[in-house]
C-alpha cells in the first residue's frame, strides 16, 4: 500500500470555525435558491402588516390605522422573528432525513460545525425578515419616533432573542421525525406564545386570567422593549427582563438541542 501521510487526530478550533463559516455560507445560499423560503420570509411580514393594520387597526386604535401601525409594528417584528425561527428546526430536520448530515459526518470536520453553521446562517434570515417588516411598515406610514441608534438597538435585541429561540426550534427539529411534524409541533408551541401577548392588543383589554399569562410571557416583555426603542417609552426594564428570558431559554435549550444532535447524528 502506498504510504499514508500523517493524519490529524482531530479538527483544530480554528478549522472548526472555518467549517462553521462554510456551512453558514451554505445556509445563506439556500435562502436564495429556496423560493418557498424567500416567499415565507418576505411575503409573510408584508401580509401580516397589511392584514393586521387594516383589519384590526380601525377597531383597536379608535379608527386611526396609523396609530395602530405605530403600536403593532414592534409587536409584528417580534412575531415575524419568532415564526422565522421555525426554519432552523425545519432545515435541521431536512438535513437529517435527506442524509446530508450523514455526508457531513463522514468528513473530517468539527462535529458541532453543521449545527453552529445552521444557526448562524439563520441569523441572516432573521435579519432579512426584520428589514422587510420595518421597510414595508415605513411604506405604510410607520415612523421611528425615537432615534436611529435606538432602532438599531431594537433590531439587535430581536436578533439576540431569535438566537435563543432558534434552539427551541432546533430541539424540535432534531426530535421530531418528519418536517411536517416539526411544523405541527412548533405551531402548537409557538401560537399561544406569540398571540397570548400584548403584541397586537393592549393587555388591559383582556380578561384577568389571560392577563396573568400575558404579563409573564417573554413575548410581551420583548414587545414592550421594542416599542420603547422604536416609538418611545420605558426600555431598560423590559429589555433587561426579555434578555434574561433569552439567556434562560438559551441555557436550557441549546444544551438539550446539542445533546439531541449528538444522538441523532
Amino acid at each position: 500500500m502506498t504510504a499514508i501521510p500523517a493524519l490529524a487526530r482531530r479538527q483544530t478550533p480554528l478549522g472548526g470555525m472555518r467549517n462553521t463559516f462554510t456551512l453558514t455560507w451554505r445556509s445563506v445560499l439556500k435562502i436564495r435558491t429556496n423560493m418557498e423560503d424567500v416567499i415565507g420570509l418576505s411575503l409573510q411580514p408584508i401580509m401580516f402588516l397589511v392584514l393586521f393594520t387594516y383589519v384590526f387597526g380601525g377597531a383597536i386604535a379608535h379608527g386611526s390605522t396609523h396609530a395602530y401601525l405605530q403600536y403593532e409594528l414592534p409587536g409584528l417584528l417580534v412575531m415575524t422573528v419568532v415564526f422565522a425561527t421555525l426554519g432552523t428546526g425545519l432545515m435541521l430536520n431536512q438535513d437529517i432525513t435527506s442524509g446530508v448530515f450523514d455526508r457531513f459526518r463522514t468528513l473530517p470536520i468539527a462535529r458541532w460545525a453543521p449545527l453552529a453553521g445552521a444557526v448562524l446562517g439563520d441569523m441572516v434570515r432573521y435579519l432579512i425578515s426584520v428589514v422587510i417588516t420595518i421597510g414595508f411598515g415605513m411604506i405604510l406610514g410607520f415612523r421611528v419616533t425615537t432615534n436611529p441608534g435606538s432602532a438599531v438597538a431594537g433590531c439587535l435585541l430581536l436578533l439576540a432573542f431569535a438566537l435563543a429561540m432558534c434552539w427551541v426550534s432546533a430541539l424540535i427539529g432534531l426530535l421530531v421525525k418528519t418536517p411536517q411534524g416539526v411544523q405541527a409541533f412548533a405551531f402548537i408551541a409557538l401560537f399561544p406564545l406569540v398571540f397570548g401577548s400584548n403584541l397586537l392588543a393592549p393587555t388591559a383589554t383582556m380578561p384577568g386570567w389571560l392577563q396573568a399569562f400575558v404579563k409573564v410571557n417573554p413575548m410581551t416583555l420583548l414587545t414592550d422593549a421594542e416599542r420603547g426603542l422604536f416609538t418611545g417609552g420605558a426600555v431598560a426594564g423590559p429589555a433587561v427582563r426579555s434578555m434574561l428570558w433569552a439567556v434562560g431559554i438559551f441555557v436550557v435549550f441549546a444544551p438539550l438541542a446539542a445533546r439531541a444532535y449528538r444522538r441523532r447524528t
Binding site: T2, R9, R18, W25, R26, S98, G99, F104, L107
Partner: protein, 339 residues
C-alpha cells in the same frame, strides 16, 4: 499519530455486531478489503450490508467487534478515518437546495481547500461525471441518475483512498448502471480501494475482485467470484424432459444419482442440480435413456452467482423484498436513537 504500516488490508472488520432493539443486523461479521481492489459485499435486502458500511464509515457505533481503515480504528481514530474515506449511499445525499457546483465547492471548503482549488476540483469532477451542463442548476432539478453521479462526485472531492459505495446502482436504468461501473473501474485504476455493496449478482461478478456474501447479518461465504462459483460444485446440470409430465421422475432420478438438491422450474420445465463430479453424467444420461424419457435438453454449464447464492443461503438474492422493506424501516427508525 497512529499509523499501522503493517496493516495488510485497506479495510479490516472483525466480528462486527450491531443490534437495533431486538433485531440483530450484524451477527459477527468479518471482512477484509485488499488495497486497490474492489470488495463486493453481496446479500439480499436487509442482510446487513448498509449497517456494515455505516459502521465502517464512522456513522454507526458497533455493539461488538472492531473495524479499521488503513490501520485506523473506526471508533478511536474516527477523525483520521474520515480523512481517508468517501461514502456514496443508497439514498443520494446531495444538498437539493444548492447547485451541483456549490455542492462540490462546499465539500472542498469543508475539507480545507482554498476557494480557487475547491472551485477547480468541482469543475473537474462535474466534467468527469458529465454534469457540466447542469452545474449551475439546483440539485433538486436533477434526475435520479444525475443525482447519483453528483453524490459520487461529492464523495470523491477529497480524493479518498477508500470508497464505500452502498448499492450505487439500485434504481438506476441500465445505461446509468453501466456508467457507474465504468467509473468504479476508473477509480480502481487510480489505486482507490472500493467496498461495494450490491444485491445484483452480475454487478459483483463484473466489478469485485473479492466477494463476501452476507445473509441475515452473517457471512455465509467469501472468495473470488470464480472461487465462489466453484464452491458449489462449479458446474450445473440442466435437464429438460420432452414430456413435462415426466418432470417428477426426472427430478427424483437426478436427486438419487447426483445426491444434490435438484431445483425444478415448472414454468420452463427445467431441472437443475449442481454437479461436483462430472463422471456421474453418463450414469444420469443412461438411466434417463433406459427409462425411455425423451429429452429436450441435457446440458452442463458453469454455475451462475445466483445459483451460488441460492446454494449458500437457501433463497434467491432478489426475493424477500417485502420483508426487507419492513425491516429497513424499523432499522432507520431505530438508528435515530443511536449515539
Amino acid at each position: 499519530m497512529r499509523y499501522d504500516a503493517t496493516s495488510e488490508y485497506a479495510i479490516e472488520a472483525t466480528r462486527l455486531v450491531k443490534r437495533f432493539g431486538k433485531t440483530t443486523a450484524l451477527d459477527g461479521v468479518d471482512l477484509v478489503a485488499r488495497p486497490g481492489r474492489v470488495l463486493g459485499v453481496l446479500g439480499p435486502n436487509g442482510a446487513g450490508k448498509t449497517t456494515a458500511v455505516r459502521i465502517l464509515a464512522t456513522l454507526l457505533r458497533p455493539d461488538g467487534g472492531r473495524a479499521s481503515v488503513c490501520g485506523y480504528d473506526v471508533l478511536r481514530d474516527a477523525h483520521q478515518v474520515r480523512q481517508l474515506i468517501g461514502l456514496t449511499g443508497q439514498y443520494a445525499a446531495v444538498d437539493e437546495g444548492l447547485s451541483g457546483t456549490n455542492n462540490l465547492i462546499m465539500i472542498g471548503r469543508l475539507l480545507g481547500m482554498p476557494r480557487p482549488d475547491a472551485r477547480a476540483r468541482a469543475a473537474e469532477l462535474l466534467a468527469r461525471f458529465d454534469l457540466t451542463d447542469a452545474a449551475a442548476r439546483p440539485a433538486k432539478t436533477y434526475s435520479g441518475g444525475m443525482r447519483r453521479r453528483l453524490d459520487l462526485a461529492a464523495s470523491l472531492v477529497g480524493r479518498p483512498r477508500v470508497l464505500y459505495l452502498d448499492e450505487p446502482t439500485t434504481g438506476l436504468d441500465p445505461r446509468s448502471r453501466t456508467d457507474v461501473w465504468g467509473m468504479v473501474r476508473g477509480l480502481v485504476a487510480d489505486g482507490v480501494t472500493v467496498l461495494l455493496t450490491t444485491q445484483y449478482l452480475d454487478e459483483a461478478d463484473q466489478l469485485a475482485h473479492d466477494i463476501v456474501v452476507i445473509d441475515h447479518g452473517k457471512v455465509v461465504a467469501t472468495g473470488t467470484p470464480d472461487e465462489l462459483k466453484a464452491k458449489t460444485g462449479g458446474q450445473v446440470l440442466q435437464v429438460s424432459p420432452a414430456d413435462p409430465a415426466r418432470m417428477a421422475e426426472v427430478t427424483a432420478l437426478m436427486a438419487d444419482l447426483i445426491r444434490a438438491e435438484v431445483v425444478t422450474d415448472a414454468e420452463s420445465g427445467v431441472a437443475t442440480a449442481p454437479v461436483g463430479d462430472a463422471a456421474l453424467l453418463p450414469h444420469v444420461f443412461r438411466e434417463l435413456d433406459d427409462r425411455g424419457i425423451e429429452l429436450a435438453e441435457f446440458t452442463l454449464r458453469k454455475a451462475s452467482l445466483d445459483e451460488v447464492f441460492f446454494a449458500l443461503t437457501g433463497h434467491h438474492a432478489e426475493e424477500e423484498e417485502e420483508g426487507r422493506r419492513a425491516e429497513e424501516n424499523g432499522r432507520r427508525e431505530l438508528e435515530g436513537s443511536n449515539p
